[in-house]
Amino acid sequence: MFKQVLYTQWKWSRAELMFCVVGAFIVPTLILRVGYEVVDGYSITNVLGVVGFAGMFFGSLSLFTAFALAWRPYIVDMSLRHVGPLSLPVPWPEFVRLRFLAGATLVLLPTFAVWIGGVIATTTSAIPLTLHAYPGGVALRFLTATLVAYAAGFMLQYVAGKHAVRVAVISFFVVLLLALAASMLGFENVIGKVWNVITTWPGPFSIFNARWMLIDV
């Protein structure tokens, strides 16, 4: 059963996955190459700036991969009014679990590409004496971050259904407005505190709040 769900998930998301894999494979090397051409490599600050740019790419790629994997199968199912999943001889929670696991398994593909891409990028660039290369570390962070974001996106998609995007956008703006109003009125910023809780350790999104550095101190 899992094999079939995995195959369906792969079939429906392969375009996005291939896009992520190719990006993860090529873009870090490109960023380092172009960056090293533009800046003076003797300055460590410049080098870290270039690597930080590659780190931003990994963070964005992680979010993109996660939401693409979470969103695509549900949208396809929804367009068919969920007839397929509901006709299967397994209860709905079991089916959702299989879907979730299938998506999580597919995250391994771009992770592998991030690792290989990182190894190529760092071995083909000159690394200053005081810095070290961490392609494996970045790949592990990518895997963990993508899994968390995928799970959050998956939950939003399956709980809010077809209104998921609307719910996400409206919640974002409501939170933003409340935070702004609270700070303007001089109240203690509760939303800021909540934001801190979810984006600092051990909050779920604190995984994004770190140095995604292929080359670092």
Partner: protein
């Protein structure tokens, strides 16, 4: 008194605005005589400003009722009607906590440092338009030449504690040998260095433009002493930087647009990599220190930590160079202190981007939790 102070402040503000309005624009040609006149006039104005400020601080300390509250040996002076009971209560707790933290650094000398001068507290609640208001508390060392720290809304115990610790650090500098105070950036740390500050020091050392800092990174004690400016440096440009570093120094500075010869020299340095041009340009400006004052403060902090409760007292009694004073504070030899500091900085280097096993477990648990919640709603 208050009215007079307000007027004086307004006058000073007007004088500053006038000076700014009539000041020559940067880059316009001026004769040396004209520049000298301007410089003399500016220094005169600076003296007047300094006198007026001293006068204002003097007045403010007299305005406040004596010792509004005492927390341990710390004295806070304020007008109860201005500060309010809520901030007074927060100040009591914050003061107590700040003293406990500072005790671990300043040890037996803390009561004397805290007693030295009262802290003036003023609260302002400025309104901007109809709805926007900003609540602030200013803590200022009485007779401290305006050395103060501002706490913005929301006023919390944590923020007040940090502000009090900052002021205690400033107060602790008054009896420390002046060479050490100057070396440490006019401040003595009154709280132990936290892991983030050590990590910043590691990043600072590894990413410095100065080659001496990189040599220090690989473990040379003399290089670390030089990078921390603890030994006499005769030619900072040559002793701290290599020609590659000169180029970086030149690259970080943009000369005025009308300085054609300088611009041409800069192009020679950056594009054609002519070392002589880089050196000339780099020498025309002040040479940046290899490691920041923040990094230096980690060494001072380590000396206090290593030296125990008597460390600060020993620093006050110590004589000699900055390095000798720090070593006496720590109670170990200068080389051991530098070696220990180096090991601590290197150990604080940021970890690889990889999440730790604990982090990975927690994040996977989050992912599983989200995943299990998804199955709760059936379409």
């Amino acid at each position: 008194m208050c009215e007079f102070a307000r007027r004086s402040r307004r006058l000073l503000f007007c004088a500053t605005l006038t000076a700014v309005a009539f000041a020559p624009r940067a880059g316009s040609a001026q004769s040396v005589d004209r520049l000298r006149e301007r410089l003399l006039a500016s220094s005169r104005r600076a003296e007047w400003l300094k006198d007026s400020l001293a006068e204002l601080h003097q007045m403010r300390s007299h305005e406040m009722p004596a010792d509004s509250i005492m927390v341990g040996d710390l004295k806070f002076r304020f007008l109860r009607s201005n500060v309010g009971d809520d901030v007074t209560a927060e100040l009591r707790v914050a003061g107590k906590r700040a003293l406990a933290v500072a005790d671990s650094v300043l040890g037996d000398e803390l009561p004397r440092v805290a007693r030295e001068t009262p802290i003036l507290v003023t609260r302002s609640n400025s309104r901007y338009g109809e709805i926007l208001r900003v609540n602030m508390v200013n803590l200022e060392i009485a007779n401290g030449g305006g050395r103060s720290t501002l706490v913005r809304a929301p006023i919390t115990q944590g923020k007040l504690e940090e502000a009090i610790l900052d002021l205690l650090g400033t107060m602790a500098t008054s009896r420390v040998p002046s060479s050490v105070v100057g070396w440490g950036g006019e401040w003595v740390p009154a709280r132990p260095t936290n892991p983030e500050q050590w990590e910043d020091a590691a990043i600072d050392m590894a990413s410095s433009k100065a080659s001496i800092a990189r040599t220090c990174y690989v473990g040379s004690v003399p290089a670390c002493e030089s990078a921390l400016a603890l030994v006499v440096v005769h030619d900072p440009l040559n002793e701290w930087y290599t020609p590659d570093g000169w180029r970086i120094l030149v690259a970080t500075w943009m000369p005025p647009k009308d300085a054609d010869s300088v611009l041409a020299e800069r192009m020679k340095c950056l594009d054609q990599k002519v070392n002589a041009s880089c050196e000339r340009l780099a020498r025309s400006r002040s040479i940046p220190i290899p490691l920041t004052f923040g990094t230096r403060s980690t060494l001072m902090s380590l000396a206090f930590q290593r030296g125990g409760r008597d460390a600060y007292s020993r620093m006050l009694r110590a004589q000699g160079t900055t390095l000798q004073v720090l070593a006496a504070t720590a109670g170990i030899t200068p080389d051991s202190l530098i070696r220990e500091w180096h090991a601590r900085v290197i150990a604080s280097s940021p970890k690889s981007a990889s999440p730790s096993p604990l982090e990975a477990t927690v994040f996977i648990a989050w992912a599983l939790l989200f995943g299990s919640l998804a199955a709760r709603r059936r379409p």
